[in-house]
Symmetry: C2
Subunit: 202 residues, 2 copies
Amino acid sequence: MTSPANQRQDDAPTQPVPQRLLAAATRLFADRGYDRTSVQEIVEAAGVTKGALYHYFGSKDDLLHEIYGRVLRLQQERLDAFASSDAPVERRLRDAAADVVVTTIDNLDDASIFFRSMHQLSEDKQKQVRSERRRYHERFRALIEEGQQAGVFSTATPADLVVDYHFGSVHHLSTWYRPGGRMTPQEVADHLADLLLRALRP
Amino acid sequence: MTSPANQRQDDAPTQPVPQRLLAAATRLFADRGYDRTSVQEIVEAAGVTKGALYHYFGSKDDLLHEIYGRVLRLQQERLDAFASSDAPVERRLRDAAADVVVTTIDNLDDASIFFRSMHQLSEDKQKQVRSERRRYHERFRALIEEGQQAGVFSTATPADLVVDYHFGSVHHLSTWYRPGGRMTPQEVADHLADLLLRALRP
DNA sequence: TGCCACATACCGACTGGTTAGTCTGTGAGG
DNA sequence: CCTCACAGACTAACCAGTCGGTATGTGGCA
């Protein structure tokens, strides 16, 4: 071979291999589903080979787990920030509720993977993801309960159910929201947060 | 072989083979996912062989399509019944919203398949399912718009979004609801319908 | 400065296992 | 004797993960 082969064509700053693999896997998993995506397709999309993938990741399902971890960390971080501000509780809830919508839309691929591919993870990893998710859920619920105790939110519905109600709609975004549709992410977020707050009016 | 082999052990009225196959497939698809379920497992669970399955169904994905058809027909039928009653619109919406929750919980397996396995269907079948689903969605939306025009529902949020908000939570049921939990299906349905109606208060 | 030792970061052919769908057969009923 | 309703062995394809190999870099030492 006389060319520098398949490293790079140009000198633009290429992302490191692990990130490229993760990005390619995310696209493909969201597109055709975890089981329908072969490891070969992932490495081809990332411009490397199986050797590279198994150098950085223990298994295909490790890749999926890493995607879950990334989403979970991001959302938890943002929720914590909003929840612990010193604004009044209805403001904190509204901001958190709207933010998770925007963040979800900004990472729609992650979202469709998240809710479709849970059961492709190994039992251990599933348990881990579920427990991190529970932590998130509880933080959100605490916010609602705080408002209920303060008398600014209705107590007609148990806080737990309200959380599931809202996250149902967030979850659902990846089914119907298409970038470039007639609403911006922020508009959708405002409407959904509104619906939540309106449902909670005493 | 001297025994009547593997047809039936007793003379209880056994369901016909196609239904048994569909039932077995539903359980298994909900449990481990479409791609993780082999045709061999389905036929074993139904007590027949591949010959029988391919006698009645053209392919594995035909089986899935039939499951989708069954759910869609059932829900559309029920929605039509509730929507066309002559009760006031807020009553019709409430009943329809609560009913879809109860029906979904009664068929939780169908629900988890529905929202997880869409993209395992062939392109044609997916298109067909989407169009039937759209019909359902539109009927529901019409109900909300009717109430908005009559002034009994707030117009702050576009009806479309409200529908997605509610169906997000229905969709989500298969993630968190467990039969035998501390709420009955009817209680959950009442709460979720309440949340919807409260969010729509002018 | 030159050379060796070792590690990191991959490459890609190969293996063992699995799977959807096919096809030839067969018994029962009309 | 013909058709329906299956049985079950077989095939062709695919795929996750393995493994032996290679290229490049780096530190130590003479």
